[in-house]
Amino acid sequence: MTERTLYEKYGGFSKVSKIVLSFYTTLLDSDEIGPFFDDVDMSRIVDHQTKFIATLLGGPASYTDKQLRHLHSHLEISHAHFDELETVLRRTLLEHGMAADDVDVVATEFGNRRPLIVG
């Protein structure tokens, strides 16, 4: 049998949707990262966050490296921004009851994409 993804382990869409919304709120509140979303339409941000979390947890979406690079190419994202996002991500996942070692797995997945996003 195929291995169960974190997405399934943590209750599929019904649970992950709560993570996404809380992540979305925290992101916009953050003065480090929030400004990147100043002029972006709400539904687009939500769409990105849904896919972002689903991708990291092994859900139904999967951003390809090429897409990720393209989506972030016009933004000036520094390592500090990326680190801050990781902090927010870790905190959100822990708040929603994800086990620490699973959070590490997600953070590693996230970290792997650093070269596509920063720069």
Binding site: S17, L21, D38, V46, K51, P60
Partner: protein, 340 residues
């Protein structure tokens, strides 16, 4: 505290924005705390259009005139988060308009998320469907559709007797030497071309290709659906195979010569194997076709007596005579030629 005072406290504190306006001038006469927090940073709100410049006042007037109610939605940013507020105007008595505002931001965000999610799921569903079709196509290549349906429904295939069917067995002359002397990849590529052509020819006459083993090609008529013309079908197919090869040899450096055997009889068809499925047929008709094929000279077709009997009126058949066939004893063997 008086009831009036409690009412006012409640009205001010609830999480729904409430305001009263003059029906004619749209001047605000009251607004509660929630309303003020959302809409008016300074002092008292003045006039409706000043506060909501995007609101279609004519539309609102029409709605109020028709049903006494009008609903709308406004969006604005609060520290870069888009807030969505539902506005609900109700015409009350004495020329007063009641405006009730609800924060539906979360609902809108959820809607966006569900849109996003359902799009992902729908895309995945399409992909899964495509993959399923691919798998189905592959399985249909190795077994007849009816057998595949049985396999899909029950997970197993019961061996089934087909009686009678006609079997065409074809083998190439000198294939082993050809593989040894030529570039094997070229040989296999050509073999693939030829088999593909055979498949198309067989299909035209209602034959179902069962398998190929190296340079041996087996196709059968009358399976999985019985056909009265099964002998004719393999005879027509065999003649076309020879014609195709003859024509092909005219324009290709590699000469492909075949031997063909035709026989009729019962066969049992089944899926064999658990991990590596092969649909195969077994029975005397298969063995006899193989033996008869061995009797053929290059580019000739040997036919079982019983088959020849059926075909005699419509095909060009010549009796070769009695031959001893391993496992079958002495049998009359015929040769089928292309009349054209």
């Amino acid at each position: 505290m008086t009831i009036e005072a409690i009412n006012e406290q409640l009205l001010r504190a609830i999480g729904v924005g409430v305001a009263l306006l003059d029906r004619q001038t749209f001047q605000f006469s009251f607004s509660n705390d929630t309303f003020d927090e959302w809409f008016s940073s300074e002092s008292q709100p003045g006039q409706l259009q000043q506060l909501f410049p995007d609101l279609d006042v004519n539309e609102m007037q029409n709605g109020l005139a028709d049903s006494g109610r009008y609903t709308s939605e406004i969006r604005f940013k609060r520290k870069r988060r888009t807030l969505v507020i539902a506005l609900d105007f109700t015409a009350a008595n004495e020329g007063v308009l009641v405006l009730v505002c609800q924060n539906i931001t979360r609902i809108k965000e959820l809607e966006s998320m569900i849109d996003s999610y359902s799009m992902m799921v729908e895309r995945n569903t399409r992909e899964i469907k495509r993959e399923k079709e691919q798998v189905e196509k592959l399985l249909l290549n190795i077994m007849p559709r009816s057998v595949y349906e049985e396999y899909k429904t029950f997970g197993v295939v019961t061996p089934q007797l087909y009686d009678p069917v006609s079997v065409l067995m074809l083998d190439f002359v000198g294939f082993t030497e050809m593989v040894a002397s030529q570039d094997p990849s070229v040989t296999v590529t050509e073999l693939n071309d030829i088999y593909s052509a055979f498949d198309r020819i067989g299909e035209q006459f209602g034959c179902e290709r069962i398998k190929t083993i190296g340079d041996a090609y087996i196709t059968v008529a009358g399976l999985p659906d019985p056909t009265p013309d099964h002998a004719k079908a393999v005879a027509n197919t065999a003649i076309r195979f020879v014609r195709y090869l003859t024509r092909r040899n005219l324009s290709h450096p590699h000469q492909w010569q075949c031997r063909i055997g035709l026989s009729s009889g019962p066969v049992v068809g089944s899926v064999v194997g658990i991990q590596k499925y092969v649909y195969d047929i077994f029975g005397p008709a298969v063995n006899l076709a193989t033996r008869l094929q061995e009797f053929s000279d290059p580019m000739e077709i040997s036919v079982q007596h019983e088959v020849a009997d059926v075909l005699k009126d419509q095909f060009d058949l010549e009796k070769i005579g009695s031959r001893t066939i391993r496992g079958f004893g002495a049998r009359e063997v015929w040769q089928l030629s292309d009349r054209n």
